[in-house]
Symmetry: C2
Subunit: 313 residues, 2 copies
Amino acid sequence: MQKILVFGHQNPDTDAITSAISYSYYLSQSNQEVEPEPVALGPVNPETQFALDYFNQPAPRVIETAANEVDLVALVDHNESQQSVSDIKEVSVYSVVDHHRIANFETADPILYVALPVGCTQTVIYQMMKFAGVKPTKEIAGLMIAGIVSDTLLFQSPTTTDQDKKTAEALAEIAEIDLQAFGLDLLKAGANVDDKSALEIAEGDAKSFPMGDYSIRIGQINVVDVADVLKRKDEILAVMQSESIDHSYDAFLLVVTNILTNDSVGLYVGNENLQASFEAAFNTKIDQQTLDLPGVVSRKKQVVPPLTKAIED
Amino acid sequence: MQKILVFGHQNPDTDAITSAISYSYYLSQSNQEVEPEPVALGPVNPETQFALDYFNQPAPRVIETAANEVDLVALVDHNESQQSVSDIKEVSVYSVVDHHRIANFETADPILYVALPVGCTQTVIYQMMKFAGVKPTKEIAGLMIAGIVSDTLLFQSPTTTDQDKKTAEALAEIAEIDLQAFGLDLLKAGANVDDKSALEIAEGDAKSFPMGDYSIRIGQINVVDVADVLKRKDEILAVMQSESIDHSYDAFLLVVTNILTNDSVGLYVGNENLQASFEAAFNTKIDQQTLDLPGVVSRKKQVVPPLTKAIED
């Protein structure tokens, strides 16, 4: 059996961490070729830690590079190389299980690649488990639910599909939990920003997206009151500015999402040409580096596609 | 329901044509969102025509462009944009079902993407049918077998997996045919080169592959006697040369495969720098534009990967 590292994207959210764990479990139960270990490309956030504690599971160890340990990796919850491990080009990809757009991804050989347009990678993994006859343990089922609740904001995000809901409900029976109560506790555990630094708020869940000739950084943070972030606006904008300079981002958008009302406010740093594209994408004006994003809760579905279109057109 | 065109790659082989048909059937039986029509990016070859005639099925109509008819397409048996319909950038991709490497493929939104490292797209489609509870008709099952036999050279190609064999055997029961007898007749129907022009021999199954900064054209033709092609070597090389000039290929390799002995001979046209990479890739010398490729039957597994490595290293 060949050793294989399984991981989600940089700046891991709950789906990235727990999908690495559940997919490793799936491989260990269904595949004789590889010996999987779930790892992470960064420390777990408070929301994920709440889920791990709830089901008594350890956090995956954090790796900086993969090629020093293995020849083969499995990607979950991402495929774009700039969101993956820094030395992704030095290893071979065994498989991808994902629910994002496909871009900046290339292999020399055919591989297993399963992506579905659903709200969460765990929903895809659950389908694979069902097909292979693999039943998750109570703890794995619980972590899979955490991924779904986190990615779909407890089924409020427009990325939510019927499959996500049905999967979470089926898993809740295995995990023996109250889905609504657990889900709300999980989201609240991740929505406390007072203990976070400005850098953690801006960068905690940020990803880079190449759009046209530009590198666009998009972060998102969930809160129960947007004012908790806006009262620290100057400090956060300063961090976004310095991060943009250090990493050559052409623009940086932080989406601050109220998980109770399902509205967002954006903070913007970037050059003036790009500002017009952002305003066109969201049909609004950016005033004092702030823009209203009513009804926006999904970066993947409501932020990246209109922005890609506005910038590339 | 939204109209959707389903097609395989340019220069369609039997898998490309029949997968468009079987995946359209699968969608029509399992999906309420789309109304699929199988089409083709070129005329069917004699092998495919044999299969269509055998199971009394019409050839899909040939399209030049897609955007003039639909907004949405489904790709089978390919993903790389240069192998797809000419105006692929003008339409949205609904889904991909494939068994090739992933490259030059990008979407703005998440989609269904299912690829497995197996010998034939039909093997992937059969898994999807099983999962969705869709049973192919006798005719669809027969066409699916034709795809598998064609791509795996009746299970002799190193791309063949256990899954391909088991799938073909299960389908043979539904189609009520003798797998070996039908398979050999199918391959022989495709291996007659005497009626083909030099252009059809060189270009009939050819695909372009970007490798490093180069555009590499690789064709393959199956024969029962390599001499049938080699006796027309000068004429074929001249066509490969003029095609390379017309389409800016940096090199053109035609793999002539004996389906009875499972060996190949290559014909080469290209510049001298690249010739060294070809020689390194296959650990041989190119003499009078000819190279021996003993044991080579799979472009995907035995030609593209070593060549990519030799050129990009």
